[in-house]
């Protein structure tokens, strides 16, 4: 899936959320999305992982797409967040904050048991 330092099942769980976050900054195309995710420390995301997710999000109406012809090469498919996608991102971000706080709290809590 990728060359990330993190376990691949963690990556699978958060990749969609991270893609929506990348698109929050504006429309982007596949390779640029993988580059941005890579520079955010998520490792190298392969096209075979990225595009099926983008296709599913497009079918769910979370993102829209348009093709732009290339000047001296192939065209590029630009993906943009829709209103539904923005709402989904907000909701997932809040859930993630809750979840990560709980997990962090749990992992760093005292190891002594109350008996």
């Amino acid at each position: 899936m990728n060359d990330s330092l993190y376990p691949s099942d963690w990556m699978r769980a958060v990749l969609g959320l991270c893609i929506l976050r990348v698109l929050e900054s504006g429309p982007s195309y596949g390779y640029a999305i993988t580059a941005e995710l890579s520079s955010a420390g998520l490792g190298e995301i392969k096209g075979g992982t990225l595009y099926p997710l983008l296709t599913r999000y497009e079918q769910r109406g979370l993102i829209s797409s348009r093709w732009q012809a290339g000047e001296s090469g192939p065209g590029r498919k630009y993906f943009a967040l829709t209103d539904a996608g923005r709402q989904e991102l907000d909701s997932l971000r809040n859930t993630w904050d809750d979840f990560s706080q709980n997990i962090t709290h749990h992992l760093h809590a005292s190891t002594e048991r109350n008996s």
């Binding site: 390779y31 392969k46 075979g48 099926p52 093709w67 001296s72 192939p74 498919k77």
Partner: protein
């Protein structure tokens, strides 16, 4: 990732990566994905590979698995495929009967049918049906050419056997009558399929078999669609054309 400096055109790139592109397109086709969507997916892979400098296998993994992971279309049911191919199969069987009648007419004899002939015509139906039902497996595991050659081999053997082996005649008829009936039916089937392709309720769907690329002009894509319709219609008329040629040749030889 190593960016590619010399940008290949789509055609060059597809030629270079034929071993990945062909099974990928085929899997999408077998899932009834429209040509416009196949074109988009191919363009996406091409674009990503040019940007990343990777081969399709490196970036997307195995072509069939990647095509399935997109969850597009649906697996074409054998029944749907049979419905599409049934008129052509019927035309093929009619052509075999027509051919036998033309042969009888050339010999100035009666059109005679024995059990072996009936068996060989039945075998054509059964083998063709099996090929249609297991089309995907045949292409994936055996190769269509080998299956086609096996079919031709079996039919030739049965044809030769039914002619040489003097089996009792089950029924006979006037060859001209058989030629007229089967000829009309063959032409009627080709006409029906042609009209269906041009004006039928799913004529747009038929046209969407042609791969259309999102970055090509509407004119180019329209040309591809028209080309696909023309090709389909030409295929429908192969059997009537063969029947006509066989009849004309037979008449020419018998009169000469």
């Amino acid at each position: 990732m190593k960016p590619q400096h010399t940008v290949l055109t789509r055609e060059q790139w597809q030629k270079e990566n034929k071993r990945w592109v062909d099974p990928f397109s085929f899997e999408l086709r077998m899932r009834n994905v429209p040509g416009s969507e196949v074109g988009q997916q191919l363009e996406t892979v091409y674009s990503h590979c040019v940007d990343s400098g990777e081969t399709p296998e490196e970036a997307f993994g195995k072509p069939v698995e990647y095509a399935r992971s997109l969850e597009l279309g649906h697996d074409e049911k054998a029944r749907e495929r049979m419905r599409d191919y049934l008129p052509s199969l019927l035309a093929l069987v009619l052509f075999l009967v027509f051919s036998q009648a033309v042969d009888a007419l050339g010999r100035d004899g009666a059109f005679q049918v024995n059990d072996l002939m009936l068996f060989s015509w039945g075998a054509v139906c059964v083998i063709s049906c099996l090929m249609i039902i297991f089309l995907k497996h045949i292409v994936e595991k055996i190769s269509f050419h080998m299956a086609g050659m096996a079919l031709v081999g079996v039919l030739t053997a049965l044809g030769v056997l039914s002619t040489l082996w003097n089996r009792p005649v089950l029924f006979e008829a006037n060859p001209l009558l058989v030629i007229a009936i089967t000829g009309v039916l063959i032409v009627a089937i080709a006409t029906f399929l042609t009209l269906k392709t041009l004006y039928g309720p799913d004529s747009e769907e038929v046209a969407d078999i042609a791969i259309q690329y999102p970055t090509d002009s509407e004119h180019v894509n329209l040309k591809r669609t028209r080309g696909m319709k023309t090709l389909l219609i030409a295929i429908y008329w192969i059997i009537p054309a063969l029947a006509f040629i066989q009849f004309a040749l037979n008449m020419f030889v018998s009169k000469g």
